[in-house]
Amino acid sequence: MTAHQDATSPDHAEGMGLFERFLSLWVALAMVAGVLLGQFAPAVPETLSRFEYAQVSIPVAILIWAMIFPMMAQIDFSAVLGVRRQPKGLIITTTVNWLIKPFTMFAIAWFFLMVVFQPLIPEPLASQYLAGAILLGAAPCTAMVFVWSYLTRGDAAYTLVQVALNDLIMLFAFAPIVVFLLGVSNIPIPWDTVALSVVLYIVIPLTAGYLTRRTLIARRGSEWYDNVFMKKVGPITPIGLIITLVLLFAFQGEVILEAPLHIVLIAIPLILQTFLIFFIAYGWAKAWKVPHNVAAPGAMIGASNFFELAVAAAIALFGLQSGAALATVVGVLVEVPLMLALVRIANNTRDHFPAAGPEARG
């Protein structure tokens, strides 16, 4: 039997909720709300930022866990057992995610922020934006890819394996890549600070998610877990994201009001990088005759980012008021329109790839 490859793809917004469809708008509104909060009620963010333990802001940590935990709790790590099933797709996406993307992100962001836009952005701020771009480049997407995969009629079994594999690699690769690229950029970050942020925002939520999933499925069953527990926990992520952004923008008011052009300037290398990575992975998949239902989600996973982790790491390493945090948020701002454009490209080029079938598998 061959997997059914439907020529028609879902409507470009079918897999997306109202919140997600207009994410750019909500981020823009969070920006306005945050700036207003910072200007007219500065005591609120300042008070919240004072609740610290071991230099970790407790309100921010809670918000970040609220963003990340639900995504970690839905990862089925047993899917990694299928790692040999789509070797070409897994080799392409894993290589692009971990050996190409962080470095092209660094190169493109450095070229634009430090060279091309040098007259427009003061050097210390450009370095901060570069740091934010580096954090984005080192964090591959783990949740939204299911939506992008759906919209391109992707192979969900492959997507499950790739996401689980990426999360395991991220545990060990995120910190070294970030420290290396920040070091190359002359933005020194103490190893212990990076290690602390990895423990706080990757290891703890990932372990908590895994244990929660395992324990609750053993006690209540997988259907209850999916349809009752995750149904309640899943929506916490976007709520945590928006509150974090409001708080973050409350500290960013001066930069946004004085230099709103910076948002556009940061977005340019991020957009170029997303297209570049998509076409590297997609073109490679075409050269290797990978079926479209693996090539499309593989390229989407390569191109998209784990924004919540990047935002969390930027806040942990550089602070809420930092340019690095602002740069990671610009990634969130452009994500949905950008990825929908790639979905459209993938769906319009479906005929250039072999259909899925026994001969195409592996």
Binding site: A3, H4, P10, G17, E20
Partner: protein
């Protein structure tokens, strides 16, 4: 029925009790929305009456009714003695609202 269970999956399922459930598992996007992913589990469903029951040779399949007409292939894979059921085909089959 367009659902296929490979011989090695049937052999593995027989040792696990000869029952498999095919259902849709929701995956939430980081920014809202999400998609349903088809998963196979070597057990009977919590509420069998909500599933379509089919006998496939010596394996009993409980299938989410929306998946019955999908062309799906249930197989087993793994290494180091660990095994994992998986489903290939058009999945996820619907957007999660």
């Amino acid at each position: 029925m367009a659902i296929d269970v490979t011989p090695r999956a049937r052999e593995w399922l027989r040792r696990k009790g000869g029952v498999v459930t095919l259902r849709l598992s929701p995956r939430h996007g980081c920014c809202g929305g999400g998609a349903d992913v088809t998963v196979a589990e070597a057990r009977a469903p919590d509420e069998p009456e909500r599933y379509t029951r089919l006998e496939f040779e010596d394996v009993t399949l409980h299938i989410d009714p929306s998946l019955v007409d999908q062309e799906l292939r249930v197989d087993v894979d793994g290494f180091l003695g660990l095994r994992h059921l998986f489903v290939e085909g058009t999945s996820p089959t619907r957007a999660r609202k």
